[in-house]
Each structure stands twice: as structure tokens, then as C-alpha cells.
Amino acid sequence: MVSRSAASGSPQTQRQRAVARIDQNAPINFTFDGRSYRGFAGDTLASALLANNVHLVGRSFKYHRPRGIMAAGSEEPNALIRLGKGAYAEPNLRATQIEIFEGLYAESQNRTPSLKFDIGAINSVLDRFFPAGFYYKTFMWPASMWMRYEHVIRHAAGLGKVADDHNDPDRYEKTHAHCDILVAGGGATGLMAALQAAKSGARVILADEQNEFGGWLLGEADIKIADVPALSWVSDIVTELAAMPNVTLLPRTTVFGYLDHNYLTLNERVTDHLPSRPAHLPRQRLWKIRAQQVIIAQGAHERPLVFAGNDLPGVMLAGAVRTYINRYGVCPGQRAIVVCNNDDAYRTALDLHHAGAYVVVTDLRATATGPLMRAVRNAGIEILHGHAIIAAYGTHRVARVEIAPVDDSVTAITGDIDHRDCDLIAMSGGLSPAVHLHSQARGKLQWDDAKLCFRPSATHEPSFNIGACNGSFDLVAGLKEAVRAGTKAAAATGHKATTLDTPDVQIHKQSWRPLAAWKIPNGHASGRGPKAFVDFQNDVTASDVSLAAREGYQSVEHLKRYTTTGMGTDQGKTSNINALAILADALGNEIPAVGTTTFRMPYTPSNIGAIAGRDIGDLFDPVRLTRMDDWHRAHGATFEHVGQWMRAWYFPQDGETMQQAVNREVKAARTTAGLLDASTLGKIDIRGRDAAEFLNRLYTNAWSKLGIGKCRYGLMLKDDGMVMDDGVTTRIGENHFHMTTTTGGAAGVLDWMEEWLQTEWPDLEVYLTSVTEQWAVATLSGPNAGKILQDAGIDFDLSPAEFPFMSMKEGHIGGLAARIFRISFTGELSYEINVAARHGLALWTRLMAAGKAYGITPYGTEAMHVLRAEKGFIIVGQETDGSVTPHDLGMDWIVSKTKPDFIGKRALARHAMEYDDRKQLVGLLCSDPATVIPEGAHAVLDPNQPLPMKMLGQVTSSYFSPNCGRSIAMAMLKGGHALKGQTVFFPMLDGSVLKAEIVDTAFFDPKGARIDG
């Protein structure tokens, strides 16, 4: 019956016959491992390769054994390929799920240099040296070799290779959606449930991972539903659903995550199946759906049987063989042996027979009766009851099997071994419900001793499991569940519809009770003889599982990590139950007592690009710009990120290095005037009857008596006594304050204040408003600052008597209404000029113009840091790290002794605060004035002490100070306050040692003589 297909010249030797899902008039050319092949529209890469009689498609993970196509869907463990070229390449895709398109380019994985000849396959010969836990056992000693081992392991581990070009050129989108009912899975039961629910008017989303709806029915030939062929019934329902405005159909969409409160994540492959991707469509779309009710209709996965050589190309799951024959018109072999422990595989025998293959059925069960067996027998197919394939052999494809009679429990060979030639084995070990989504939502499982599978039981989420994923393998039972779930889910969302009749189903009656046969004997002791695989993707054999159990890995979670069973991209869809059963057997325990590992998302791997969506590059995080930003850019500023803000870092003039520019800016601020854009400082408007009392409790110092128009510096602690923020707050009116915070701390401080107001002191009447972005701030600093302000047109008297340090006045500068604060972060005469944000740029340019005659110099954050360090002013988050008290900073003066309470007061009185080895803030002068000690360098008292050295603490700020004419630094050192005058050492990475003297932190103008200009 082997026939040439319609496309002339195509060597699709295994294409059997015309089937509805394949368009033989639409040939498609594709490339696999450098060779050109032809398939048809409707093919997957797997079906097209099988049509071309290609079974060998990859090498295995550990032993580099030849592997073929085992399944026909998302559970495929073996046929992982790398799709596409260059930046478009994507590894580890399942050939069984890739729809082919013209020009498709695919490569096999895990082979060097070629698929047919792979040097890694030596691992298979050396398998005695690769037992379970091989890496753990081998690469332990000596510890000093670990770095080198790691390189070897990293090279050996992993599956496919990611794209060489890491800039993914594709576009991905995200969609958020709500619905009344989400149906996961569009097979027979999913469709039925969706229809029942949709008829009620409820908003329904139906998603299925395949390119068309119908689930397993797409791979069946002989089923009728409602007196029509099953797929006609399917297409009628799909047509009806598609016409309903309350229904969204999502084919090619995998529900891969089920999170709390019915929040589900779906990956829609929008254009992956197209030869070229239209510009207006994303490649994939991530759906985030909140559903009131969820109906899970995920179906079931067929289990392999564990016999020696069960991983050879040409050994396939029986249901998959049926799918290739009926859906794709491809018969994967001509001499087939069906081996099974259940009735269902007999349907594969029939379909193989009708496709023209020679078939033998090897049934592990001693007896099996029913209409299916009768049909098989009547077709003249040989059935061997109580027999098993005890070993399969072949090089790149199965060629020969050993068949032997076995005892009732399939633990011993009871007779002579018979040899048969074959090119296909269709195996079936029963069905495992796909409980993944149910389990992701932390639903419980129960063991069904009759059907030999885990089924869903209790769940916290409002959801239903129906059909095969609920262990209801019988189609009629599944459809009944679907109608029931559709009705109930609709009712729960307030919708009602007449209950649909469950349609009649014509299908061979069969039993769903397989025989428990987890490991087929091969006449050898465990660990000897040819390998029988449990987990194909991770190359875990039955003897690996037994060995792990003998070595004490008795918990299923330990077994998983030790042997890697159930890991990898298929997450053990085909292997989990077999591994559990073999572990249970080795432990002499029952399967439910051994339990299962946790199913976690994703159900199938999801592209990271889809998860990132558009939130990449410039759209990764918002950027905040000040109103003067345009000016900074026009004047060549270099920028740094401070939280989300972009702040001018320094303003290099032609040819200047950073150090030269910063030196010039720092000098200018002390010799004439500097101008800083301080708009990013956090600003909080505080009003209300109890505003002063609130500040009293919030800051460590006293606020009640602060006069109107006066400013005060404050330190804020957490309730554990540690410094969390600082800033200057000004009394605008009796019950009105203006607070400034650090740039990075603004949002956190506002939250902090709200928390205390709302949760601890709700009796206080205080209202907080963030006004950071309402004000633009220019800080004018330096001896000429007052003159420049005059020239810029200030409308009030600036004399220190009228406008003293630490006060605020409202007035106008060249007509711009302004709040001017006489506060200083440089130690110079300094004005922080606040204007309405929209006037920010006008203010800046006016000040620059007025200051031109004086050599006004714009400076950035780096110069700001140097200027404050010259004065010994701290920066919260640089000198402090959440473990520093005011005392540690030498700032006892700011902590009130008389206030009854403030946040952190009680904690400061803790005994532990008195330890004299707390790290304390000190100044450092390096013995070489030209050397700037690196920030983060660790100090020791004796650089010659043996390793590990006793470390005193670390440098927190370190700069070259042009105004001091030397390097300066600050550090947090253990007991630092008592060490003043002593020398400490800094051993460097290059072996050199820096030396510094411990001094006060005020390096420049320690008496503060320059504050009035």
C-alpha cells in the first residue's frame, strides 16, 4: 500500500492516503539538518518528517542515544529541534507542535558533528560510569577543582542552543482579559462545556494549544457523535461558538499557568505558523485572564511502557501512531508491533492494519475480551496474550524485538524468547490525566486504583475538571461532565441555559482498567542488560530510579532532583507515573503513599519574549526628566540614573575628562557660584491641625517651636532606631510644612508617613500631598550667589539679617513667583529656589544669564557629592545602609532627649546600641594625597596579620577634593570614633596596601565660616 503522494517528485514514501486535515494540493518545502523535504499544508514538522520516513530526529541529553518522534502533541519528550536561523533561532521546540510553512529551517540538537554519527554517544557505552547522580558523585572533590568542573558540566548540560544573536527581532504583545468562564482545552469535552456555558450568555473564552479544535478526535477515524463523524460534530460546534458574540476562541493558545484567584496565563502563537510574519501582528501574545470560573479539559497523556530499548526511533505511543495515520495520512511503519496493558491500543492495531501495515499485538494481560479485541481478531491480526516486548534493538531505528511470555504481574519471563523483525513499536501503558493546571492551582490529587492514575480531587479555586483530565476517559462520561460543568459554571456567574442533551456516541466499547505493569522484565538484574527508559528527555532509566531508592532517595522530591526525572522541558508528562510506580515498587510501598512532585507552571515552555512583551528597552521602566533637562542636554551634560530620574552628572567642556570637569565645577561653587538642578528632591506638602506634632514624632529632633518661615534639618529613623532618610523641612504656616526628602527616598517616605498616620496615629489630623513634580528647583551656591540673585531680579532684601541661614521667603525673581530657601548642602552661601514646575527652565536660563558675568558654573550630581563630602555631610544610602544610628554618624546633637516619643526612640535605648564595636562614621586622609581610596575598600589595623584579616569596616565615600587639594574619604569603621588619629590600612586586590589617617569628617571650612558668603 505504499504509494507516492500527489506532489510529483516528493519522496513522502510514508504518506498513505488522502485525509481531511492534510491539503495534498498545497506542498510545502522545508529543510531539516541541511536536507530539503516536502510536506503538505496541515502537517507538523513531526508528521512531515515521518512522511519522508525520517525517524531519527535528535540525540538524547546524557547518553546521546538516537531518538525519534514518540508522541504527537505537547508531551513529546524526544523530538526537540532548533527552529530558524540567526537571531530568529529558537531551541527545544517540539517537532510535534510545529506547523510547517514554506522555507521552514530546522536542525537537530545534541549532536557533534552529525545526527547519524555523534561522538557523545560514547557516553552510552560508558554508561556504567554515568549512574544516577553522576555529577553529584563525581565532581565533588577536590573543592579547588570545582571551577574547572563547572565549565565541563555547563558544556555537557542543557538541551539546545539559544540564538547566537541575543537581540530577538520579533515583537510580542500582552492582552489582559476578563471572562465569566475560561475553558482550557478544546477537545470534545471542552467544546461541549464551552457550548453549554456560552448558551447561557456567559462570556466564554475557549483556548486550545493546537491549530484546530477537536483535541484527540483529530487523530481518530471511526468515531461518530450525534450520528455524524466526530470531526463534523466538532466543526458544527466550533461554527456555532464562533458566531456567538460572547465567545472568544483562541486556537494555538496554551494555557500554561494557573495562579491564585482564577488568574491564568496563556501563550498565543499568533504568527509562528506563517512563512513570513505580517508587520501588524505580533509573533506571540501573552494573555493574562481573570476568569470567574475555570473549566479544565486538558485531556490525558498516554504512558510509555518501560522495556529495554524503548527509546529507539520507531518506538512510539500507540495513540500518537493513530494520530499520524488518521490526521496526517502518514503510517509511521510497515511492520508494527503493538505492545500494551490496556484495550485502547487495540484501536491502533486496527488503524495500522487498515493503513496496510503488518501488525502483531503483544498484550501484557493474560486475557482480554470485548468488541475491540474481537474486531482485531476478525481482521486477522495476531494477538499474543500474556506476552511482552522484553527488548527492542536497532541502530538508528527499531529493527527487531524479543517477545516472551510473562507472568500475570509482568515481573518474570515464563517461556522462550521469540525474535521478530519490525520497524515500528506502538506502545501503550495506560493514560495519565493531565492534572497540571489543577495542580498548579494547588488542587489535590487522588490515586485511582482501577484506572491506575492520579485524578484531581479538592481545589481551592472555582474550577471544574472534565473528561480525560478528570480520569473520565470514556467519551460519553466526559460529555456528561462537560454539560454539567458548563451549566454549573454558568450558574455560578449568574447565567442560565437549558441543559443540552449529551449526544449519542458511536465508538467501540472498551475497558479503562489497564494492568499494572510498570517495569517489563528482560531477564537481567537491575542495572545490567540494555537500558529501559522512564524519562526519555532526561535519560533516566528504570535502574536509575531503583538505584536512587537503594541509595536512600526515598522521597519523591529527592528522587526527582537526584535523577532529574520529570525535569526538563516536558516536565515529566510521559514519565512521572512510571517513575513513581517504580520508586514505590523499590520501596515496597503503594503509589499514593509515595505521592507526586509538584506541578509548576509553565505547562509547556513559554517564550521569554512573550513574557517580556513590549516592556523592554526604553519601555522597561519610565524615565523621569526635570524641567531643565533640555538645557542640560543642549549643554553637553552627562547623565546618571537616580531611581527613575535622569540627573545631570557633570557638564564636560570640550575635551575635559570627568575628573577635570568635576574639579572645575567643585572649584567654581566655592570661588564664585555653581548652579545645580535639584528638582528631583522629594517634596511633601504637610497640612493639618496636628502637622507639627506629627513631625515631632516622625523626626528625632523637636519641631513644635520652629518659627513660620524657618527651616530645620531632620533625621528620620525606622522604629528600630536606624536612619532611613533625611532632609530639610520648612514651616510655611502654623499648620503647614514643606518637607524635602532624598531623591530616591521620596515615595518610600510618603508611604512611611501615611502608614503611621493611618495605622498608628489615626487621631492626628494631618494631610500629605506629594509635590515633587509641582516644583522645579535650582540651587545657587557660592560666594557670588547673592549678587547673582540680585542681578536676576529678586524682589526682597537678601542681607543675612533680613534673610538668615535656615529660613524661607516667598517672592519673585524676574517676575517668577518663587519660594527661596536659604539652606546649604555645600557649606557655601546657598539658595534653593523653588518655582512652579512650568517656570523651571525660565528660572534656570535667567540665573545662568545673570551669573554669566561672575562665571556661574552649572554642576551635576558628582560635584554635589564632592562638595557635601568636603563638608562631611552624609548621604543616606551611601554612608548608611539600614544598620546605622544617629550616634554611629556622630549626630547625637539631632536626637532629642526630652521628647516623650519619636519613631525609633525606644530602640535607641536598647543595650545593643551601646556596644563599642558598632561601625561609626569617620573621615580618612590617604597617606598619598593624590590617591583616592576606592569606595568599598575594607580597612584593617594591621596589613600583615594572617588571613582571614580582621576587618574594621569600609570606605563609604571617597573623592579627590580640589578645594582641599587632596583626596578625602569617609568610612564606617568599628569603634571608629575612638580611633581618631590612628592609621588604618587598605589591602588592595593587586597586593598593594593603602594607608590612611583617621580624622574628623569636616574636611573643608570646619567652622562653617562661609555660610553667609
Binding site: D260, H460, D720, D751, K905, R906, A912
Partner: protein
């Protein structure tokens, strides 16, 4: 992702909220005689139960208001949402409150007397 019903804005996704940790930890008054160890019960010790947990949440990307939530940490079921400064009304949540080890601590007794009666609001 949880759905949390903000008492002021209605049901919203969890991403709009920030969890503020355990609820009903009364803050000892500043002038108290409790030991550092007792004070640590307030300052550092936090419960992490399997089951019903009374915790504080803030609608940080919404109205910025704080409120209390009784949440089952196993199922993530939200049993009750109730205002700051009040105690839960549902029986299970009430029991959780009453049986907390905190009710016997010196730290709680050293909190404002009036607040301690209300069970503390923070």
C-alpha cells in the same frame, strides 16, 4: 494573583497593593519598663502561619489607604477585609486574633491602654 477588595475602591488586582505584614501588633508606649527582649516581640517577631493570617494591606497604586485582611495562607482565600483600628468579625478570624501569642506579651500590655483594648491598630 490575588483579587483584593479595597474597602474604598472595590476589587482590584494584587499588583495595585502592597502587603504590610502582620496586623494587630500594638506599639509599646515610649515610657515603658519592658525589657529589650519583650520590646523585640513588637519590633522583630513576626508570625508566618500556615492557615488564617491577619495582615495589613495598602492600596498603594490606588487610594493609598491601609486596611486589614484575614487571608488563608494555604488557599489564599480572603476571609475578611476590615478597617484599620478594628477587629475582625468572622468567627475564624476572631479566633485567630484571640489565640495569637501576642495577646499575652508584655509588649502588647505596654501599648496605649485604650489601643490595647481595641487590640491595637498597627
Amino acid at each position: 494573583m490575588l483579587i483584593i477588595t479595597c474597602p474604598f475602591c472595590g476589587p482590584r488586582d494584587e499588583v495595585e497593593f502592597a502587603c504590610g505584614g502582620e496586623a494587630h501588633i500594638a506599639r509599646p508606649l515610649a515610657d515603658n519598663k519592658i525589657s529589650d527582649a519583650d520590646f523585640a516581640d513588637y519590633l522583630f517577631m513576626r508570625d508566618n502561619p500556615k492557615g488564617l493570617f491577619l495582615e495589613r494591606w495598602r492600596h498603594s497604586a490606588g487610594c493609598r489607604r491601609w486596611f486589614n485582611v484575614a487571608r488563608d495562607t494555604v488557599s489564599n482565600e480572603i476571609v475578611e477585609i476590615y478597617p484599620m483600628g478594628s477587629l475582625p468579625a468572622k468567627t475564624a478570624a476572631k479566633t485567630t486574633y484571640k489565640t495569637s501569642w501576642r495577646r499575652d506579651t508584655a509588649a502588647e500590655k505596654a501599648a496605649t491602654p485604650s489601643r490595647s483594648k481595641a487590640g491595637g491598630s498597627k
